[in-house]
């Protein structure tokens, strides 16, 4: 059943550009990667990074700058952007893990504003106007990807790689320790691990994946703006993750899809896109904390349990 669902998803992603506007699909894919990076921290380590947009936006500018000023190929530019974000993530982690829980969120929030301010003032970003005219260099220096349909498949492949990386991190021994930190940090410490080091590394990996999404986004649109660094985007990724399902691999993908399509539909109604985001986030927190994927999973487990006449579904671990 699970494999069938994955195959169905892959097939849908492959034929989607023939039915839906490819740029919208690529936007969704960028945010799928971005939301996955956020979920890695909140869903699996229990760290709420309230400034995830700084990694997305910084990398978008770095990638854009490399593409504009050098002849380096596309994947190198995006990886360089991701690397810069990963370094920033390690530094933010180094400072912010000194305070636990809620203060971590506040510190990352303040950090993101600082990065916003620096990018606003920097020469190379174009300030308020943003960075325009980012060229789409050849992939590996040989493949021309200027065609939108071709580029969609490149972005799809990159998305798959990023999700595979997140999957490998979560299901590695290192990922098990992260989950243990989330559930009982003093216990992990008593076993001789240093939770702070694990958290800083997790922060860096998450920032790197978010940066990867930012680089992809800069290449898709051909521009980078301060919106990518703003706290509304940091909030948007929280909504995507919670709406889809915190601590599930597919949740952030579903959430990113819903939120991007919703933004697209509501774009003409001014403020209502943000108001709708707020209302949905409130409803999710009050009534559906498992998110779409979590609730659907629980529903199917209940049905299975009833079919087998067993007592009740297995309790969920990620809550």
């Amino acid at each position: 059943m699970r494999i069938a669902l994955i195959l169905l998803g892959v097939a849908a992603a492959l034929i989607a550009p023939f039915f839906v506007y490819p740029v919208l699909l690529m936007t969704i894919l960028c945010f799928v990667v971005f939301a996955t990076s956020f979920n890695l921290l909140l869903g699996y380590v229990g760290l709420l990074c309230f400034g995830q947009a700084m990694f997305l936006g910084l990398s978008a500018y770095v990638t854009g700058h490399i593409l504009k000023t050098t002849d380096l190929s596309l994947e190198i530019a995006i990886l360089a952007g991701a690397l810069v974000s990963a370094v920033l993530g390690a530094f933010v982690g180094f400072v912010a893990v000194r305070r636990s829980g809620i203060q971590f969120a506040m510190i990352t929030f303040a950090f993101a504003q600082f990065v916003y301010f620096l990018l606003l003032r920097s020469e190379f970003t174009g300030g308020e106007n943003g960075m325009q005219g980012i060229p789409r260099s050849e992939l590996f220096g040989i493949f021309d990807v200027s065609d939108t349909l071709t580029f969609y498949y490149v972005i799809l492949g990159m998305t798959a790689l990023a999700i595979l990386l997140a999957y490998r991190v979560i299901h590695s021994p290192y990922g098990e320790i992260l989950k243990a930190i989330r559930d009982n940090e003093p216990r992990v410490e008593s076993l001789g691990f240093k939770p702070e080091r694990f958290k800083i590394l997790a922060m860096s990996i998450s920032a790197g994946i978010a940066g990867f999404a930012g680089g992809m986004k800069a290449a898709v649109y051909g521009f980078a703006t301060l919106t990518d660094v703003s706290w509304t985007v940091s909030g948007e990724v929280i909504l995507m993750t919670l709406l889809g399902g915190l601590g599930t691999l597919t949740g952030p993908m579903v959430g990113a899809g819903i939120v991007i399509v919703m933004n697209d539909e509501l774009a003409q109604f001014g403020e209502w896109a943000l108001i709708a985001q707020g209302i949905i986030l409130i409803l999710v927190i009050l009534f559906f904390r498992r998110g779409v994927v979590g609730e659907a999973g629980a529903f199917f487990r209940r049905r299975q349990a009833r079919a087998k006449d067993a007592p009740a579904g297995k309790p969920r671990e990620a809550e």
């Binding site: 909140l42 709420l48 309230f50 400072v95 912010a96 000194r98 305070r99 636990s100 829980g101 809620i102 203060q103 969120a105 506040m106 510190i107 929030f109 303040a110 950090f111 504003q113 600082f114 301010f117 620096l118 003032r121 706290w231 909030g235 929280i238 919670l242 001014g270 403020e271 209502w272 943000l274 108001i275 985001q277 707020g278 209302i279 986030l281 409130i282 927190i285 009050l286 904390r289």
Partner: protein
């Protein structure tokens, strides 16, 4: 290096710093009170501050009620709004991870700001000073209203601090923070106390908003822009420390003002750098006696 600095510039910026610091202190104090008792980081604090300013503006424009009336009415209106918010949004999730309360108040901020912006646009609305004119002190010109802001905020902060640290009500509040079960066994309704505390903290935000209306322009985003600084103030002062929040608020306002005089390029960043240094060298907060939680 300091040749170009006239006393007018120095004291002018210092005054702006103290004014900003007054608002930092009042808002950070409200945030610290709410956090101290409920362990809720009230992201909506900035939006509630903005609501205070907007209520004052609406009272003046539509009902003709002047500033001095708004100073009493608006905080009550905003506090009632806060109490409704607490009942609807915070109470149902009181037993969950505190991250959820931060997120739900963030979501409320999106809705409040969005609705106000939809209704009144994003441009600032002017609110005339109720105390025009000022006094020339020789080295600088001191507008009456700014003097009023500083005095009023110092009195409010001191009064609130005394209320919480040195009265019976305050000791109940602090005790309910330490161990709600024991306080409850004394016959005190802790959930209601939490609702009222939230209302009080939110009312303080509304009061700051009225105070701010004649100084800054009344605009939907006036609060969320301030929240970043307020978060930094609370983090530097030590979470939940009321006196820490107050002192750090004034201090950072003044430091920010002085930075504008001596190193204008750094003015936007100085608070952030102080937060960075405080986190690295005083991880438990400047005014917090306890070790890292």
């Amino acid at each position: 290096m300091f040749d170009g600095i006239t006393p007018q510039l120095l004291f002018g910026q210092l005054l702006i710093g103290v004014i900003n610091g007054s608002f930092y202190a009042m808002l950070a104090m409200g945030l610290a009170i709410i956090f101290g008792l409920m362990h809720v980081v009230n992201f909506a604090h900035g939006a509630q501050y903005m609501l205070g300013a907007f209520v004052a503006w609406l009272l003046l424009t539509h009902l003709g009620i002047p500033y001095w009336g708004a100073l009493f009415i608006a905080p009550v209106v905003v506090a009632i709004f806060g109490i409704v918010m607490e009942r609807l949004l915070l109470k149902p999730i009181a037993n969950l991870d505190h991250l959820y309360s931060l997120l739900v108040t963030y979501a409320a901020t999106l809705v409040i700001e969005g609705l106000i912006r939809q209704q009144y646009g994003s441009t600032g609305l002017p609110y005339n000073s109720p105390l025009p004119g000022g006094v020339n002190l020789g080295f600088m010109f001191m507008p009456w209203y700014r003097l009023w802001v500083v005095v009023f905020s110092v009195v409010t902060c001191l009064g609130t601090w005394l209320l919480i640290e040195h009265t019976k009500l305050g000791s109940y509040l602090r005790a309910a923070n330490e161990s709600p079960e024991i306080v409850e066994s004394f016959g005190i309704n802790v959930p209601r106390m939490m609702t009222l505390t939230y209302g009080f903290g939110v009312g303080l935000a509304g009061l700051s908003g009225v105070l701010a209306a004649p100084v800054y322009q009344v605009s939907p985003s006036m609060g969320s822009g301030l929240m970043i600084t307020i978060f930094a103030v609370v983090v530097i002062g030590g979470m939940g420390s009321i006196i820490g929040a107050i002192l750090t608020g004034y201090l950072l306002g003044i430091v920010e003002g002085l930075t504008k005089v001596f190193y204008p390029e750094g003015a936007g960043l100085v608070i952030f750098f102080i937060m960075l240094l405080a986190l690295i060298f005083r991880p438990s907060g400047l005014f917090s006696g306890t070790e890292k939680s």
